[in-house]
Subunit: 330 residues, 4 copies
Amino acid sequence: MVKFAVLGCGRIGSMHALNLARHPRAELAYVYDIVEDAAAATADATGARLAGEVDEVLGSNDVEAVLIASTTDTHLDLLVRAVEAGKAVLCEKPIDLDLAKVDASWQRIKERKPTVMVGFNRRFDASFKALRDRIHFGEIGKLEQVVITSRDPGPPPLAYIESSGGLFRDMTIHDFDMARYLMGDMHAVNAVGGNLVDPAIGRAGDIDSAMVSLVAKSGALCQINNSRRCAYGYDQRIEAFGEKGMLQAGNQRPTTVSFWGAAATEARDPVLNFFIERYTPAYLAEIDHFVDCIEKGVAPLVGYRDGREALRLADAALESIATGRTVRLD
Amino acid sequence: MVKFAVLGCGRIGSMHALNLARHPRAELAYVYDIVEDAAAATADATGARLAGEVDEVLGSNDVEAVLIASTTDTHLDLLVRAVEAGKAVLCEKPIDLDLAKVDASWQRIKERKPTVMVGFNRRFDASFKALRDRIHFGEIGKLEQVVITSRDPGPPPLAYIESSGGLFRDMTIHDFDMARYLMGDMHAVNAVGGNLVDPAIGRAGDIDSAMVSLVAKSGALCQINNSRRCAYGYDQRIEAFGEKGMLQAGNQRPTTVSFWGAAATEARDPVLNFFIERYTPAYLAEIDHFVDCIEKGVAPLVGYRDGREALRLADAALESIATGRTVRLD
Amino acid sequence: MVKFAVLGCGRIGSMHALNLARHPRAELAYVYDIVEDAAAATADATGARLAGEVDEVLGSNDVEAVLIASTTDTHLDLLVRAVEAGKAVLCEKPIDLDLAKVDASWQRIKERKPTVMVGFNRRFDASFKALRDRIHFGEIGKLEQVVITSRDPGPPPLAYIESSGGLFRDMTIHDFDMARYLMGDMHAVNAVGGNLVDPAIGRAGDIDSAMVSLVAKSGALCQINNSRRCAYGYDQRIEAFGEKGMLQAGNQRPTTVSFWGAAATEARDPVLNFFIERYTPAYLAEIDHFVDCIEKGVAPLVGYRDGREALRLADAALESIATGRTVRLD
Amino acid sequence: MVKFAVLGCGRIGSMHALNLARHPRAELAYVYDIVEDAAAATADATGARLAGEVDEVLGSNDVEAVLIASTTDTHLDLLVRAVEAGKAVLCEKPIDLDLAKVDASWQRIKERKPTVMVGFNRRFDASFKALRDRIHFGEIGKLEQVVITSRDPGPPPLAYIESSGGLFRDMTIHDFDMARYLMGDMHAVNAVGGNLVDPAIGRAGDIDSAMVSLVAKSGALCQINNSRRCAYGYDQRIEAFGEKGMLQAGNQRPTTVSFWGAAATEARDPVLNFFIERYTPAYLAEIDHFVDCIEKGVAPLVGYRDGREALRLADAALESIATGRTVRLD
């Protein structure tokens, strides 16, 4: 049994708390949120203790691992404090919006060889993982091109967008990590974007639609297409092309039913609506893997450096849009 | 160049006439229809001569092959006369509605070893042919079960139904032939049916919906499902199961476009609407094969006996409904 | 919290026991199996008490509901005893192999108005349930035809087959129930079958391949195709045709990945292998529904009569094969 | 009847010649090729006269329309001469590899208001055309993003690559035209590419893999992915996203057959192998449209300016790779 605390009890934190409370090899000791009502509701739902402050959690011997799901601006500080308190950390993405701070923090904690995992949940999706394993097994020969489609069903609240770091650091960051998961480190990035979904997003200084090209150090090429709007649900697909063929991973739906009628045939359900629905099994597998790492003393498959590199790609994409240049990363 | 005459210039006869007129190895010499306007229109469209009577056609040295597409009640008489005039014959299905007459006629012409082909066009559909070839090549091992789905977009005019010989002899006869094409001769038939589409069809003494089970002499089993109505087009599908797997042949559509929206995803076009649209390439391949047979002096892949056996299965299905028994055919 | 006991800790019983042990509204008090090791293993895995005999379970005030998953020959006796002990009962299919006993037992218990549910798990599959709801909502108009494909990945052990009551009572019984779920009560049955998979099954007096036609009292028609072997997994599909179109429910796979290469394109994973994998969420939903029924005092959606009617259809199919007749049920 | 000459009897020229010879409203008067054997073979196959030189064709009153399918370096000169001889012209893509020459030639001929059509055959593909019509009809609301997948089954001979103008001017030019067909004129282009398929292509100074991003003047975004190799055939797909959903146009296969077995399920045929196979009906529809334009005196849907703009996008993509910049087009 690995004893956990969850810091941050919003939508994703409370989901993690419930997953931990039901997990056969985990025990949820504490929950904390700066909004006490949120923490109290999660404590009620899970049977965990309600912590009055972060130090109560970090100072407790009942806590071996901390899951950080608070607002982005608090991630890095909590991560450092938790590591310094000797805890293993699973931190939601992004680690931070400032690459310099991310690097400085690493200098501060690296000697401890901390167990830090970043919440890139898509690596734990059974279909994406199978696609990667099949690439690595050689089914399509040398990997040449990847196309990642990633479209949210609708934009988040404007207040969230304003503090999110923008589309690339908040949303595309998952796709950047997926590209690295499939293709390794990157050599160059270019991006184009626009404000096609909601003018208010543009007024808030962000884009809501983007197309990014990546060149990997291996020479392989990748395209990402993003939108903050998708009428048919949470569109999450990958295509990987190689010398011997292509592997595709498609969308998922609540049922297998299709309708055939005068207006259309083989019409399927809208795809699962958003990350909580689509990645339910992935979030569970992510926790499984983190518990494994703690129990076996091994490094997580997706660590601090992965969080850092995805952020670096987001920054490069922003720079590409600002300068109209393809940004080199080496 | 094989010189042809077409007898019967209705919907299917005029289509055949056009196909023959454009065929690189065929020449359409004559067309004839008891309704002179129909024949004249086809003559106009194809450049063929308009025959005033059947004997003008059968007596002409310019005619080597006769395509019979007149009303069902005239098929057998024309077939016999054409054979006796030394012509090769491609006759639309069914040969006749009366098995005894079919057998008697065969006795009359068999000594001539005539080149007679029956218009079971579906055998020439590229997908169904590929399915059969792959079965015979052993891809699914020993064939165990076949499911044939065959549904017309809508019922024919009542007047047609009244002279059609009924659902089994008019429509299912294609499926009986397909079952024999895939599985060989049959050992037993049972059928259930109903009048679910249009009460007028029931008043005309016919059914419009049927489900038939067949047991082949090989022991393999087959199900056919039929309806005179299908909202999404002409539903024509086959599944063949064997020890090593299944082969499916699906419906065909005018485009590959699919729509993904809030109400449905991956919604495709309705399927091609009816036999003229769906089996256009099959009708051309059917003619090709018949021309080949004449030029090379070989027997057609689908001959008089196939026409006879499909009719026998239709009769057995009718008997099964009338008696509530599974009808043995050996 | 509804307190449960599980009688029978084989493959399906131990699965139910685990589901109950994890269920938020159920508590697993006891497990019992005539093979003590099986019961002990399940007790270990779930924390339930190990009952030494059935009466210990039925006499306990800690038990409100009994889940019967023992061998078929014990179902009916345990069901009656549990009802007479005042317990709610969820009984695996079939209730029994003898329709007369099924009816006699009902006479014995019916005055108690017992809460009895039969384990036709497929009614709780999200896709089949959605298909039925959409039919009932009128999406395809009046229901005219249903095609049920139901093929096991491989035959059970011969010893099981010998005591199973045969293909129709053991395997097709699920499809008979599905037909009734979609179409209501039946008017007539005919069936053909064969021994195509394994000669040993034939020597044991059973068939391993079958095709069944049903006529519902509504006039709608249904075909079922069954095999004890399927190379690509557990083939479980339904098509429902009506005036306005068709609804299909398809197979399910572990991932959405497809491969496109020189030999084949869009190649998907084999389908989920068997009932435990395919119907995991359905078994959970089945328990949910049963717990609901107990908590709210309402009748299960699938009761004693449904178990009886499915058995009656299996008997009729057997009679149809024996007599070569379509068997009338009214 | 529109009287045609075909200049250039290579692979695509001889296909056009056969299409014209069979066309009900066209007559193929002449064929010409600098390689006399090629012209003679096409003359034989079509019954057209063999021209000894271009001027024989351009000077003939029997020729109203010229189809130019010779090598790229001759296109523009022939186009200008044919226009000056008063002929309507259907010219294969690209018009030329030099944008300055393209513009200068237009200055020379524009006063004649010539009927010039450029052979962007994909605009006449039924699926792509339906996709565009449905976008324009408003089915997905305002168009936001387009993804074009376009991969050849294998690279052309090196000698061809050396004179082709490179991937963007030879192959992507079709995709640039498709992007304009769907989205209108472009505002910006960036591209990344690589030599992943065959080192010899790199040595010849070209890339064989590319990913291009386009920003339309409307603000909509487009991605194109290209490869000179595709194991499963000629991969030609489009996705168009808008406010209300997505339209996809997929690949095409020779049959509808799928295989379901132990290793894979729903496995389809490789897709149609290359442009001749895939775009057979599109090439016919292209001719139909051109004949219509001549007969009715209307401008072709895809004219000289479209040929010029696609070339300009190819040049911009090359510049983007050379400079690492997003190239503005306004």
